[in-house]
């Protein structure tokens, strides 16, 4: 994760998310880096609109009647609308359960044509880890998917796996998380390190991720926090804070 010393200092001083709502404490270094979302910045500035596609697997959705509105893509849209009033924000969730990174990468060209997104949030890794796909093949799939998206003019944010303490003895996420970190660095795209962020919440006691109950309360709260954290990351990486202030001036 790339970042400046200034950000580090700011992160240490201000560990809480700036966006409104109940606090979901995240250290700044997990959210803010140096990779710039140019297309998002341009679209917001010139067209006053922002179209985001979230492509991912089961952990980008929640089940039940309230599911679609409480999953993080919808929470992201709400947070962006709240924070960037006057902007036409649309977040399109494209959930393809049980698909590997390679499966998802193959759909990227069509996704660009169908949705014309400014930004694609690509959540992946869990299914690859479950099926124990060769990390090298996983890396190739990520490379191909990101290249397709970037050539098509879209910005990209990679999102890695959830931290799941009850199942982590049977799921070796490490190699896949390493690959995603490496690929994000190589392509200079921001990485939303969901694994580290949720690990942090578990360590600080923000959420009891060991809970085994069936109700949706914990899941909705976690998704809400992820949505708002993602909004902060986008606003920072596209330097929207500054440009919005300039517009106001």
């Amino acid at each position: 994760m790339r970042m400046g010393i200034v950000v580090l200092v700011a992160a240490l001083l201000l560990p809480t998310l700036a966006l409104a709502g109940p606090p979901c404490e995240i250290p700044g270094y997990l959210l803010y880096g140096n990779n710039h979302l140019k297309r998002v910045a341009a679209s917001v500035k010139d067209a006053r609109r922002l179209t985001i596609a979230v492509i991912g697997t089961g952990s980008s959705a929640l089940a039940g009647p309230e599911g679609p509105s409480s999953a993080y893509p919808a929470r992201l849209e709400a947070a962006l609308k709240q924070h960037l009033p006057g902007l036409a924000v649309k977040v399109i969730p494209l959930v393809r359960s049980r698909q590997t990174a390679d499966d998802l990468a193959k759909g990227m060209a069509k996704l660009l044509v169908d949705e014309k997104p400014d930004l694609v949030i690509w959540q992946t890794g869990t299914i690859d880890a479950i099926r124990r796909i060769e990390p090298d093949d996983f890396r190739t799939a990520l490379d191909e998917g990101i290249e397709t998206l970037q050539k098509g003019g879209a910005d990209v944010i990679l999102m890695n796996m959830q931290y799941s303490p009850r199942t982590d003895f049977m799921l070796a996420l490490g190699p896949y998380a390493d690959v995603m970190r490496f690929v994000a660095q190589q392509h200079e795209v921001p990485l939303f390190d969901r694994l580290a962020i949720m690990h942090h919440w578990s360590d600080t006691g923000e959420f009891d991720l060991y809970a085994s109950g069936r109700d949706n309360v914990l899941a909705s709260r976690v998704h809400d926090c992820i949505g708002r954290a993602m909004a902060s990351m986008i606003i920072d990486a596209a330097r929207l804070q500054e440009s919005e202030q300039k517009v106001a001036q």
């Binding site: 994760m1 697997t57 869990t126 299914i127 099926r131 124990r132 998704h223």
Partner: protein, 389 residues
């Protein structure tokens, strides 16, 4: 490690470091365990697996090499294969325990946040396929990859040992060639349901054969080189370099201190195929260790180090016990508390149980030896060489 090849004296350093490696493997296998920060994988490229594989190769050659000299290829080869069978049985036993824990998780865990992660349990839906694939060593759950590697290495060991005794340098060269070809042609063994072995046997054999080569006189030949100050300095510098690189993974913001060309050069550091950086890191560790811990180091006889040495002397049993204990520790963390005190407690207790188990095995062994009317053992006593092969 310059133990003479033909003496009966045991190199306690092998037991010591294998024992420590077993503890580290145990700690690393407990998920979300903060105590695992002390393990060497956080301070350099290589981890306890390298130590375990090298020492296992060393002791296998030491024990079975002597037997091959005294009793011939067929008897020694048969004993090696019997050992491979024992390890296979141990692996299947661990798989049964693993099944017990995950079926429990499957029936008790319903958090909708983790609906996707529960797909890991899909294989329970078709036990007819999965269990057979597990018995064929193609289906290997996470953290259960070391023993299958060990089995393959032992299955291939009789001819390798024969060649090592005949022409040790040629055998080592052949091993290195296989390593290079494996990298070049991407050879590996297939896994079920997809992918390949997590520890590629065609790559990891290099470390095993290198250990065996050292045991059969290679280390003696290296004595001159091992004592050179220049080599020691290079090794120390390399360890520092690896330490710095690993630090950049853990300390936020440090990643940008690594220049882009260096990243291109060293990443990704491939564990599957025993990346040459990992191999070099193990060598550097060994060089520095051998320098500071000579074979006659008095500390090896101290009772403070006995616990680690005892564990290293019963490596198969203690390894399996460690895997079992890591499951149990994870179970305790999910069911009781995952607080730091609990991590400390389970880590400490686990190591205590491993030491107690090793003590018990030592006691058994001694009691067997003292049985009235028992004949002196004819069979190669693998433990004499500093642990089983």
């Amino acid at each position: 490690m310059h133990a003479p090849a033909v003496t009966t004296g045991r190199d306690l350093r092998l037991d010591l470091f294998r024992g420590i490696a077993l503890w580290l493997i145990f700690l690393d296998h407990i998920p979300s365990n903060l105590v695992a920060w002390v393990t060497i994988r956080n301070y350099g490229f290589s981890d306890a697996t390298e130590i375990f594989v090298f020492v296992s190769g060393y002791t296998a050659a030491f024990v079975y090499g002597r037997e091959m000299r005294e009793r011939g290829f067929v008897i020694a080869g048969a004993h090696i294969l019997r050992r491979a069978w024992q390890i296979y049985v141990a692996h299947v036993f661990l798989f049964a325990i693993y099944l017990a824990e995950i079926t429990y998780v499957a029936s008790s865990f319903e958090n909708p946040l983790y609906a996707e992660e529960m797909n890991i349990l899909d294989f329970l839906k078709q036990p007819d396929v999965t269990i057979i694939q597990a018995l064929l060593l193609k289906f290997k759950p996470a953290n259960m990859d070391v023993l299958p590697l060990y089995i393959i290495l032992l299955l291939l060991f009789p001819p390798i040992l024969w060649l090592l005794r005949l022409q040790s340098t040629a055998a080592l060269a052949a091993s290195a060639l296989l390593y290079v070809l494996t990298w070049h042609f991407n050879w590996n063994m297939p896994s079920y349901p997809s992918g390949y072995w997590y520890f590629n046997p065609f790559a990891w054999q290099l470390l095993f054969v290198f250990g065996a080569w050292c045991a059969l006189g290679g280390a003696e030949r290296l004595t001159q080189v091992l004592h050179s100050r220049l080599l020691l300095a290079i090794a120390a510098l390399y360890l520092l370099f690896a330490f710095f690189i690993t630090l950049t993974w853990h300390v936020p913001g440090m990643g940008q201190l690594v220049p882009h060309w260096l990243e291109e050069l060293i990443y990704p550091i491939d564990k599957v195929n025993l990346d040459v950086l990992r191999f070099a890191h193990f060598l550097a560790l060994a060089i520095v260790t051998v320098h500071f811990v000579p074979i006659d180091w008095p500390g090896l006889k101290s009772r403070w180090l006995w616990p680690a040495i005892a564990c290293g002397q019963h490596s198969l049993e203690i390894f399996c016990l460690g895997i079992f204990l890591s499951f149990a520790a994870h179970f305790a963390m999910t069911e009781i508390s995952a607080a730091f005190w609990m991590q400390l407690l389970t880590s400490g207790l686990g190591i205590l149980v491993m030491v107690a188990g090793a003590g018990l095995l030592t006691w058994y062994k001694r009691a067997e030896g003292q049985k009235p009317g028992s004949k002196p053992k004819k069979m190669p006593d693998a433990d004499l060489a500093g642990g089983e092969a």
